[in-house]
């Protein structure tokens, strides 16, 4: 008999808790030789803004110990091109699609939510609040509870789709942000986005990234991500989606035990593009062998 892997994230019903993280899975099609996107819980597409963005000059990526820094600069073709070019392709893939959105202002986020709201191919919206608020001198929305709450409200007011707020780890108290966005109506939170880091080429005395700083991802950040997921899951009532350095079934289980209802696979997709599909099977096998329900696992940490 089949094991039940289905999970509920707010109003969103997913086949299973294995999702892919924004910016690490393109728009799905790049991975179609390696994984059947329809088998995944959901795919979260690369962040979309209102207008096209060129992204940062290269070099944009550099490897660090156990991780990588990226400074892609949120390159994307803008929401209109996304709807024209990517949506038809995503329909073909039969994937549950969550669109990750980003903006410079509250109005941007609201406009994006409104524009995506009528599209049946979009199953949910994930809001990247790690972006700088241009009106507030570039302070990231995600670092101030009040700003995070305002973004959340703006998005919720403009869509009937489930809204996931993606939290930044570059804060003192991530639970305060999580509580603020829950209060503001978020259906779920996902965490963590990248830690801010930097690398220097000693020979040339230049930063290794043209943008100087970039986002750290990969196994190096897993302990920080797991801690934050645990802390947030303790205080919020909405589902928590765990992200950060996941590259094995064991990692998935750690996040579920810490309190995540679902997880997203990021950097590991680059190393093994078939990983997300393998993890769905791996999780199913684990539950069968241990005769255990998914719900029994979530938040089951013994302290």
């Amino acid at each position: 008999m089949g094991v039940d892997l289905a999970v509920q994230i707010g109003g969103l019903s997913l086949k299973n808790p294995i999702m892919t993280a924004s910016g690490t899975f393109g728009y799905g099609e790049e991975f179609s030789p390696f994984v059947n996107c329809a088998d995944l819980g959901a795919i979260v597409v690369k962040g979309i803004s209102l207008l096209p963005r060129p992204g940062n000059p290269p070099p944009r990526i550099v490897e660090t110990q156990g991780g990588m820094l990226n400074a892609i600069g949120l390159q994307n073709g803008g929401v209109e091109r996304f709807i024209q070019v990517k949506i038809p392709m995503l329909r073909e893939l039969k994937a549950a699609v969550i669109v990750n959105i980003l903006g410079d202002s509250i109005d941007d986020y609201a406009a994006l939510a409104r524009r995506l709201d009528p599209l049946p191919e979009v199953h949910g919206i994930e809001v990247n609040i790690s972006c700088p608020n241009v009106k507030k001198g570039g302070v990231a929305f995600g670092t101030v509870p009040e700003m995070a709450a305002r973004v959340t409200r703006a998005v919720k007011d403009n869509t009937s789709k489930p809204v996931i707020i993606k939290l930044s780890p570059n804060v003192n108290d991530i639970t305060a942000i999580a509580l603020a966005v829950e209060e503001a109506g978020a259906d779920a939170v996902s965490l963590i986005n990248t830690l801010i880091g930097m690398a220097i080429d000693v020979q040339s005395r230049r930063p290794k990234l043209a943008n100087i700083i970039g986002g750290l991802s990969g196994p190096a950040i897993k302990p920080v991500a797991l801690r934050m997921v645990y802390q947030v899951a303790q205080v919020v009532g909405i589902p928590v989606i765990g992200i950060g350095g996941i590259n094995s079934l064991n990692d998935v289980l750690e996040f579920l035990i810490a309190g995540a209802t679902a997880v997203q696979i990021g950097t590991a997709n680059f190393i093994n593009p078939g990983l997300s599909g393998e993890l769905v099977q791996g999780l199913e096998g684990y539950l069968r062998e241990n005769d255990c329900k998914l719900a029994d696992l979530v938040g089951s940490l013994q302290t």
Partner: protein, 263 residues
């Protein structure tokens, strides 16, 4: 329309040291080998998933024989050092074949210009030209810093006319490989080049002056190799707005018409 790309665990058949820095690795990897086109590359895993080094390393497909493909690589850092330590019989995970390779021009004289390790992708190109256009002339211009760093010369010599230059004059013409190209006088030349950026820019400039078609094979730091991370951006020549300011080496390239990159 799913691209034919694979994650394949190949089996190392040979890993020979050619000079203090360079190695040639033959890998039994039928899925990738059978589909490889000249100028395409593979992403090589130099460790277990999640272990150090984390990311795969991009390497051109140097040659193919049946189910076996050959990589020609220079040890420059951690990943290539791990590869150098591998031996016959070891498994090695490859992702490929990746990218847009060379487009063989309709002409009767092809000129392949390689600098240093940049010679790597040109061998399979020469083979395919010889196979698809048996009557066309092939000239190979190979440059390196010194005699020791010249690689795969016999193989290239067997494919066409080979001219050599070294920066220190220890073999062939003393000077840069661009000078060898400057000596070419054919009007209908199709040029294909891979090597250090300044060299390729020099080649592209000469081609522009002579009206020769010029394809360049670029390098860029890569995380995914399949167009997903957008890490491998290189600015286009000319002014392009928004998301079109950059091309992506892994997906749009690594081979580009020179004018796409350098106006």
């Amino acid at each position: 329309m799913v691209a034919l790309q694979y994650v394949e665990t190949g089996c190392i058949q040979q890993n020979n040291q050619l000079n203090p820095d360079s190695f040639e690795m033959q890998i039994y990897a039928p899925q990738i080998a059978q589909r490889a086109e000249p100028g395409q590359f593979v992403m090589v895993s130099c460790s277990e998933v999640g272990r150090s080094p984390l990311l795969r390393r991009p390497l051109s497909i140097h040659d193919v024989h049946g189910d076996t493909l050959t990589l020609l690589y220079r040890v420059v850092g951690e990943g290539t050092a791990v590869m150098a330590a591998m031996g016959t019989g070891d498994p090695i995970s490859l992702l490929g074949p990746l990218g847009q390779g060379f487009t063989i021009a309709e002409t009767d004289h092809h000129c392949l210009v390689g600098g240093g390790i940049g010679i790597a992708p040109l061998l399979l190109l020469a083979r395919k030209i010889a196979w698809t256009q048996p009557k066309a002339g092939i000239t190979i211009l190979a440059g390196a810093r010194n005699r020791q760093e010249l690689l795969a010369l016999e193989k290239f010599a067997a494919m066409g006319t080979l001219h050599i230059s070294t920066d220190d004059g220890s073999e062939g013409q003393h000077g840069f490989v661009t000078q060898l190209l400057g000596n070419m006088h054919d009007t209908a030349l199709a040029v294909y080049t891979c090597g250090p950026t300044p060299m390729m820019q020099g080649v592209a400039k000469l081609c522009r002056e002579h009206g020769w078609g010029c394809q360049v094979s670029l390098e860029s730091h890569m995380a995914c190799g399949i167009g997903a991370c957008l890490g491998c951006a290189v600015a286009r020549s000319g002014i392009h707005a928004g998301a079109d300011k950059y091309v992506h080496v892994c997906k749009d390239g690594p081979v580009f018409n020179a004018e796409v990159i350098w106006a």
